[in-house]
């Protein structure tokens, strides 16, 4: 088969769409760096994805050709915003928006696993959301239960580990039981860790860490003088993963804020604000966010990394 070695650009159609979709004053207007990246093209191939041959222990990682494997983030966090507005725009009820949001999440979980992302943290329900109408909250929790039940097998088969963080004290007992089963049943899975934040807020996390430390001091495990940043970090709920600090935070629906999510952990996280509402985000939006992440100059304070 004839095989040509040619420099290939990233998808220009999407690149321009991305430029116009993202607000110019938004944190990340697009500024691509055009790099002549050679990709081997097979003339008869219709696939737009590059397949990397896995090592013995790795599973197959299939990356879109716009993305570079060595620059992929290890931990991606997402604020899934805009389900309600999406439903309103479509002339539907809020719960239809939440259903569509679950479908969008399934796709992103699948893509994250396939593209070699290690941890995906999603903000499903904030402590601030408790002020919503009771009927909507009840629907959200029943949807969460149904989704966990129906997807449990799928997650296990795809080697996805599920972890839930947040204040569980107000959650329905049936949901708590299901969460425990899900966490227990997937705890040895290695491909992707899906962390779902329910009843979570950044401030709650710091406060529960303080409570945890207080208990350890009380129990004589540690001394008051030993309390430092590291100890607080150990007690944060995101410590359930090997990579507690997100490399990339995506917020959909064009809002430019972090809304009390992972406050402590986001100090050096790259922020990407997408215009699309969460149910519309999908594969192309995810590629755009990851491309933007890869094209940015990554710096930690004064130290260039």
């Amino acid at each position: 088969m004839l095989s040509l070695r040619v420099p290939t650009p990233t998808s220009f159609r999407r690149l321009h769409a991305g430029r116009s979709r993202l607000s110019r004053d938004c944190l990340f207007s697009y500024s691509p760096s055009f790099v002549n990246r050679g990709v081997r093209l097979r003339v008869r191939s219709t696939k737009s994805e590059v397949v990397f041959t896995p090592t013995e222990e790795e599973e197959e990682v299939t990356l879109p050709e716009e993305l570079q494997p060595e620059l992929m983030p290890k931990h991606v966090a997402i604020i899934m915003d805009g389900n309600g507005r999406w439903a309103k725009n479509q002339g539907l009820q809020p719960w239809d928006g939440h259903r569509a949001g679950v479908e969008a999440l399934k796709e992103i979980v699948e893509l994250s696993g396939r593209w070699g992302i290690q941890v995906l943290t999603v903000f499903a329900f904030s402590t601030d959301n408790w002020i919503r109408p009771r009927i909507e909250i009840d629907f959200l929790f029943s949807l969460f239960e149904r989704s966990l039940k129906s997807e449990f097998q799928n997650l296990a088969q795809n080697n996805v580990r599920i972890s839930i963080i947040g204040d569980s004290s107000k959650l329905p007992k049936s949901l708590l039981r299901l969460i425990n089963e899900g966490e227990e049943g997937t705890k040895n899975n290695k491909r992707l860790q899906l962390i779902v934040a329910v009843g979570y807020s950044g401030k709650y996390d710091v406060l529960q860490a303080c409570r945890g430390i207080a208990q350890r001091v009380k129990d004589g495990e540690i001394d008051v003088d030993e309390i430092d940043e590291g100890l607080i970090e150990q007690e944060l709920e995101t410590n359930c993963t090997e990579f507690p600090y997100p490399d990339l935070l995506i917020r959909t629906s064009g809002e430019l804020r972090v809304s009390n999510f992972l406050l402590w952990q986001l100090a050096y996280t790259e922020l990407f604000f997408a215009q699309e509402l969460w149910p519309d985000f999908g594969r192309s939006g995810y590629i755009e966010a990851l491309m933007s992440f890869q094209q940015r100059q990554r710096r930690f304070g004064g130290r260039k990394s």
Partner: protein
């Protein structure tokens, strides 16, 4: 020359011509896209100058009261040029901003605070704003200087204060401190350690960065975050546009 050899020669020519054609196409597309970025950059600059000169009436009236507190994050490389920061503060004062927090991770701006306060007319330290005759100016610009030590370090110190108080207080064995470690208590402890807890409504990020670079997380709950590009190329029009855009934002706080 046999048929096989001529076919091989022909296919290598086709491959070379194809490669050359693709290379030319790539260069042409590269040129078009580069021109697109140059043109869009020029349009943005022209728009910015039009706003600065007051030609764009849309930006002439800003509901500045909505912006109670503004924070500016400056990349460490750019924080060294204090003159640019001073110019930015003068613009903010012209616009009518009353409270500004200045942040860089290493506290370079904090070290230059005397120079900044001495150069920016009508500027005072925010902690002095309540004091009598702190500023002869009727509309002072209250400045707060923030660095990384006001972030996790401050939360850690505040947590320590809470822990000491919790351990000193006589509490039943089964008390896990739910009513003790609350947001209100932690805010109070942060005040004790000198962390003023002014939550900015708008955070402007200057420099080649795409994060808030360790700005105190505790304050960022509902802050709008806007990346402004390099401080060296800052424009009054862009600043006005960002603030105007913020004043039109509706926050629903989780509802």
């Amino acid at each position: 020359m046999d048929l096989n050899q001529s076919m091989r020669l022909l296919s290598s020519w086709i491959a070379q011509i194809g490669g050359l054609g693709l290379d030319l196409l790539w260069r042409f597309i590269h040129l078009v896209v580069s021109l697109w970025y140059i043109v869009s950059g020029i349009i943005e600059a022209v728009e910015s100058y039009a706003i600065s000169l007051g030609l764009n009436k849309k930006y002439s009236s800003i509901n500045i009261e909505k912006l109670r507190c503004l924070a500016v994050v400056v990349d460490i490389e750019e924080a060294r040029d204090v003159s640019k920061v001073i110019e930015l503060l003068q613009w903010l004062r012209t616009i009518g901003v009353k409270q500004v927090g200045l942040f860089d991770s290493q506290g370079l701006l904090k070290k230059s605070k005397d120079m900044i306060l001495g150069t920016v007319p009508g500027s005072v330290l925010s902690e002095e704003i309540g004091e009598k005759n702190s500023s002869p100016d009727q509309n002072p610009l209250a400045l707060e200087f923030i660095s990384s030590s006001d972030n996790k370090e401050a939360v850690m110190k505040a947590a320590n204060i809470l822990l000491q108080d919790y351990l000193k207080s006589s509490r039943p064995e089964n008390d896990k401190g739910e009513n003790f470690f609350t947001e209100t208590h932690l805010n109070e402890a942060l005040r004790v350690v000198g962390e003023n807890v002014h939550a900015p409504d708008l955070l402007l990020v200057y420099g080649p960065i795409r994060s808030h670079l360790g700005f105190p997380a505790w304050r960022l709950r509902y802050t709008e975050i806007v990346h402004m590009g390099s401080l060296n190329y800052m424009r009054y029009g862009s600043l006005l546009k960002a603030i105007h855009k913020f004043t039109g934002v509706h926050q629903n706080y989780g509802t």
